[in-house]
Amino acid sequence: MKYFFFLFLVLPAHAKNVCFNYQFEGAVKTLSGKYILITQSDTRSERKFEFDHQDIPKLAPYAGKHAKGEFILPEENPVSGTRVLSLTKIDFGTPDPLNHEKALVKLNQIECPKI
């Protein structure tokens, strides 16, 4: 009984890595032999995202095209060059230059996946 209470009190305080689910729209491009995603390209808010090797095959059909989907990032406010932890959804999209807000939408906070 004593040990049960010890666990109950200590476990919730254990720090977990925090990640965020994002919805994205952007262009997939090949740069130096790698696929990257560029959101809001050619604007002051342009950001480039790099991917883990596990996700490279998922990006291949979208090279040179506009894509939309969801990915997991380790940061709340990602900067250009942030590495995507996991690409969870991807589909074809068409550019919409006036709706920049769709480029990157934070969905929810999650525990970071193990990759």
Binding site: T30, K34, I56, P57, P61
Partner: protein, 463 residues
Amino acid sequence: MINLTILLAIFSFPLFAANHVAFLGGGGEPQGSKTIFDQDVKRFGNFVERMPGANVTVSFNGGHSGTEGKLAENFPASPNTPFTATNFEALVSRYESDIQAGRINSADQLMLYIDTHGAEQSPGGQTTHNIATTGGSIANFDNLAGARSVSLDRLRNLTTLAEARGIRLAIIDVSCHSGASQSLANSKTCVISATGPRHYGFAGSGTFSSNFINRMRPGRNLNDIFHSVRDDSADTDFPMISSPAGKDVQDQIYPLLTRFLYDYERNSPSKLRGDIINSISTNSCEQENESLATLINLLNNVENVTNENFRRLREAVSEYQVLRTTMQNQLRGMITNPVLTESRQFCHGGRCFTYSGKEVIAMDIPAAVAVANQAGVNTPSQAAFYQSWANTLNQLAPWKAQLLANPAVANFPNYFHNYPDLERQSERLARRISKEERRLYREMHEQASASDQRPNPCKDFRL
């Protein structure tokens, strides 16, 4: 007796009727020194100069040095306060208390001129729409995401007070989606909107808003000014007025013309594309044909049979409907074709990769193989991963050839180039329709107002 009547008429009104004018807006713009509203600041300044003695309040922009410089230059007697939610609230409250205290009375008139960005009406009970205040920069012109904003629902109480006290009130809203403000109209309040509730408005010379300010001259009434400028621009907007005859015409034709005024270049592609996707998902293509038939019937009824006034409008809407059907068919095929949505798994060396038909048909397989072969690897397991992937990519070629041989889906790789091309064709048609719509509106309005005896607060509001 005549002299007595004249004297009674003179003394039954306060001797000093006052014009109260508020110039509001200039919000939602990106950082920088200038805004797209700068020319309107100058135009409205010229209007105020033509109205000596008017009580002018300016609450505009804030944070753009060039625009603020123009405000100081053009409104030397009316210091500007930034257009924030707090200042908007203070201004509306001040007018309300001035009316309640009789400082603004039935001999006076009050004009609110709103020149900023505007959102579509929000679902969930809003009766007008939100307009952008200063601070924040717009990322989405449909819902003003990224900007700060206030709801014009806040003006409802002011319109009620003005009506109860017999004060003439004009709300001129030249923002995008400003048709949503028409609901503020009542027997004493005239509302003029630069565009319909589902369309963008436009700024700059030659547009409805700039022409309207230029024609605002002492002695003219708002009804006449509106109708004198409505025909002068041919943007894909839909200027509206709350006069009874104006409302009759708008109620008849705006719902029928709404979808034909969506274009690619001047409106966001999302508005046109969203409307097409919505028509597919709600299966409303049949309704669209019925609505087109209603519009054609209406044109036949309005026009003089011998001169076929609206032949060009009939042709343009019919052509646009054919284009919409092409867009609907192409998107429907792309969204739902099972050949494209089918997924298959390809494995090698214990690793499997899944691709859909549309991914395979769109993929540049040799380029992907090159990426797999050139990938920088840090560990043996990464090297094995890329080797497995390169091998499975080579297995995709027969499936891709099969898909390209299927005429129903072979066009998919070009969809990304072709579909926006289709959307761009809408620009030319929408502008033609907009130009012809002006003539239709004028003719219907002349017919509707010819023997109209209903009170018209827009006619009663004389500058």
